[in-house]
Amino acid sequence: MRRPFVSVEGITRRFPGIADAAPQTVFDDLWFGIEEGEFVCLIGHSGCGKTTILNILAGLDRADGGAVVVAGREVDGPSLDRAVIFQSHALLPWLTAEGNIAFAVRSRYPHWSRARVAEACRHWIELVGLTGAGHKRPAQLSGGMKQRVGIARALAVSPKILLMDEPFSALDALTRGTLQEEVNRIVAETKLTAFMITHDVDEAILLADRILLMTNGPEAKIAEVVVNTLPRPRTRHDVHHLPGYYELRNHIIDFLVDRARRLRGAMPPQWSARAVPEVRPAAAAAT
């Protein structure tokens, strides 16, 4: 069998029970893949282990069973090839915006001269639209600007994969929209492979090629893979006018409000963890 670029193969994660309680299985035997250059979103309710999955992909956490294979090599720790954009931006508050980006640049290119690092920082600051704010510290930046620095820091290490843990959930709707467009543009331009956790359905439809739907935890499962057949390039202004958009959106929302809970204990008989069924709600409506 051909392996996808990122291949998640039967990972399991258990958290030890408190006191004498039995260990809690967050998820068990999880399989999915991400092709090179593909944008995959994972949607599920809080507590289903989404962040844990991302941390395992990043190498920050370890699975209790199974493995993650990236480009033919098993993940055994964090790597500069897999950049993370954290939900809480996680900027170092004692460094300026430029200092935070420079810290990442120097991690990737330790032999670069001071001038070359500064040049690279200017480039990334410009790319994420922060020109003129490079000398400010995180505390002086708005939430959206902080996350822009977070995005620039992740991109500055020239990663192969971009991992995003609800990067826009702490932002107001207007800022979130602008940043979604920026990420959409940057990922399309750089052809990065991207994996994003979200619980915003519109965000997933705008950005993702495929959307993984997760049931509620504990023992969460990927119930379905929704293939987003809406044509690219998509923008926030026109995506909801595309034929099939509402079928796609309704399908995901139906899942979240009802089936995510119902399916938890009782998956349909044709479902299998290793070959999760794919659905194309938008394609059916468009034809």
């Binding site: 964090p78 950049a83 996680a90 170092l92």
Partner: protein
């Protein structure tokens, strides 16, 4: 916070000071008054007040002021071992405090780093720290004198032992409570242990570490006076005790004031350092 008016605060402070000095002047001028004169030779030997059986009067603010002025005008004279300028004595004390404090920082900050990063080490060393920390540093003095056999080095050791604990505990606490996500950033950037320690943990813990240093230097300055009273020889503590033996209260008041001023200066230096390493989350 309400707006403060620095000028008004200053005026009130000046008024309070004037009231205090005024009350002091009044009470010290009314108490004196024994006309009876004893044998002049005896009086010359033991002091006029002792010869008449009276008490040495508490000095008036004017007498103390004159004494302070005399000390400040010539702070660094040396006329034999027992008669040295107040600046020289303060210099001895400061040198001991800085030596003991620096040694303590050299040990406590790296060790605190290790304890903060390793729960195993923390668990192993914590019982020792908890038992040793509440011991009055002066209780170590006899052991120090017995083993070191040098009074000056012994007082440096006492300063070391009293300033080591706040720095050790604050460093360990600061290092242990570095935000998980900052460490995760360092991990995803594949920073080595040294780079993570110097570029992430140290700046993140710096405000807590410097606060520990500020507490330590405060304690060290408190303890040096008592330590020098005990071992004698030189230093501001010895000076105070010597002047008590001379019954020279003006000199003692002068020393008390200068101890306060130097202590404040030490604290302010570290307050500036705290501001320099502070960051806003």
């Amino acid at each position: 916070m309400r707006t403060t008016r620095p000028l008004a605060s200053f005026a009130l402070a000046a008024l309070l000071f004037a009231l205090f000095v005024g009350a002091w002047q009044l009470s010290s001028s009314s108490g004196t008054g024994s006309g009876e004169m004893a044998d002049p030779e005896y009086a010359a030997l033991v002091g006029a007040a002792a010869a008449t059986g009276g008490q040495t009067p508490f000095p008036s603010p004017i007498e103390v002021g004159a004494r302070i002025w005399a000390h400040i005008a010539d702070p660094f004279y040396v006329r034999g071992t027992n008669d040295q300028g107040i600046g020289v004595q303060l210099g001895y004390s400061l040198a001991r405090v800085l030596a003991g404090f620096s040694l303590a920082a050299l040990l406590a900050i790296p060790l605190g780093f290790l304890i903060g990063m390793s729960p195993l080490l923390y668990g192993a060393l914590n019982p020792f720290i908890q038992v040793l920390r509440p011991i009055s540093p002066l209780a170590w003095m006899p052991l120090a004198l017995y083993t070191i056999r040098d009074s000056s080095v012994s007082s440096i050791f006492v300063i070391f032992i009293c300033s080591v604990w706040p720095m050790l505990l604050n460093t360990a606490f600061g290092v242990a409570s570095v935000r998980r996500e900052w460490l995760n950033v360092a991990r995803t950037l594949e920073c080595g242990a040294l780079r993570t320690a110097l570029r992430v943990i140290l700046p993140a813990a710096a405000p807590t570490i410097v606060t520990g240093m500020r507490i330590s230097i405060g304690i060290a300055w408190l303890v040096i006076v008592a330590a020098e009273m005990l071992v004698g020889g030189t230093g501001i503590g010895y000076f105070v005790w010597n002047q008590w033996n001379n019954l020279s209260l003006s000199d003692i008041v002068t020393a008390i004031l200068l101890i306060g001023v130097i202590g404040m200066a030490l604290d302010q230096i570290l307050a500036v350092a705290t501001r320099a390493v502070a960051y806003q989350e």
